[in-house]
Amino acid sequence: MRRTALHHVHQRLGASFTGFAGWEMPVRYGSDVAEHHSVRKSVGLFDLGHMGQIEVSGPEAAAFLDYALVGRLSAVAVGRAKYTMLCHTNGGVLDDLVVYRLEPQRFLVVANAANAPIVIAMLGEYSGGFAVTITALDRALVAVQGPDAVRVVGEHADLRYYGIKAERLAGKDVLLARTGYTGEDGFEIYCANADAEAIWEWAQAAGAQPAGLACRDTLRLEAGMPLYGHELTVRTTPFHAGLGRVVALDKSDFVGAAALRTVTPETELVGLVTKGRRSPRAGHAVLDAVTGAKVGEVTSGAPSPTLGHPIALAYVARDRAGGSLVVDVRGTREAAEIVSLPFYKR
């Protein structure tokens, strides 16, 4: 299994590790619930060195990304970022991405760890005829997330949300971005592998609490953010996931355009809350409370540490009759209520 540049730091901190997308990653350092609360109430520190980082550069970089991705990347200003997706020609999502425009002709594409090889391969395949260079970067990524993240980055906190700029932090050259995946204000710091430990130590010294993948999942779920492999798959389009707004259908041509222009999803992604203590989990059936007919399926679910009750994301049929739903939680029927997303908003 691959290890990030910070692996020995996690070992020193006593982390428990888990295999994730071929990487050995820290799942928690002690208590995942405490780590969750530290991100919500103060500031947490994540190693995201497993994320895929891909540089796309060249005179036609913007035009190429407009063609390869569903968003209009040519409209992104230098120093800004956009959440977008790479789709299959059939409209299915191959990955969801954050793309930063670093220079007029240079973009940084950040992919999910599991999908990075697919993203690199598909960008390469789609790039025929475009004057672009696609380079997989071997580089670290550290995130500080939470209301006190601004205190950690100090004078550099003047960055706008979804902005990025070159900075010097802890004596190292980094790219500092105000992005994240926790529902909190926060920063992501892209740096050389050799500088990752210095950045980590600097953030920890400023009060950021190391936080693992377990709390990252409960944080993103509370924030209603989709996770590839759960809410997003190659069998779902952005419209199924309620993310049709990221698709620039008025672009002249892009990969998946024909399919995405005609898609009419029969299901929709909704937020569910239940009142019992047992939590709906991925794969549990959503049923009509009256007829017992299956009308959907849970894609992610967990007891919400912030809210104190179970929350779940589920695909349910748009034509489901009636409003009352139950989730079959391993044989127990838990009454479920559809709520607007996100579950938690800062």
Partner: protein, 119 residues
């Protein structure tokens, strides 16, 4: 104390106290909900006999031997975090009147099992 391949521990008595190992508790993460069988439930070795839910996942607890549940730990139902903080003490789950011979591992055999799972 003896262990099972399903990461339970049990005491070597006719009425055995049963819990999950610290290895299992660490793997689960923070436990937020415990469901235990009712007193009087008769179980066979390997039957699901309880459920432990953490933020990350849900795991079944399996009966380590044939027998009857004679007592459950209400304290751990009220405060599931005891499973993380004291898995061999206050975090015990239930007491089982054993009627057969449990298939268990010694501490040395259990250490070897988890060494294999973590390597």
């Amino acid at each position: 104390m003896r262990f099972t391949k399903d990461h339970e521990w049990l005491t070597e008595e006719e009425i055995a106290t049963v819990g999950i190992t610290s290895f299992a508790a660490d793997a689960l993460g923070d436990v937020v909900f415990v469901e235990l069988p009712e007193v009087g439930t008769v179980v066979s070795a390997g039957d699901p006999a309880g459920e432990i839910e953490s933020t990350k996942s849900v795991s079944e607890v399996y009966a380590p031997a044939d027998g009857e549940i004679v007592e459950v730990n209400q304290a751990v139902v009220d405060d599931p975090a005891l499973i993380n903080s004291d898995p061999y003490g206050k975090g015990w789950l239930y007491r089982l009147r054993i009627s057969g011979t449990p298939v268990t591992l010694s501490d040395v055999e259990y250490e070897a099992l988890i060494a294999g799972e973590t390597s």
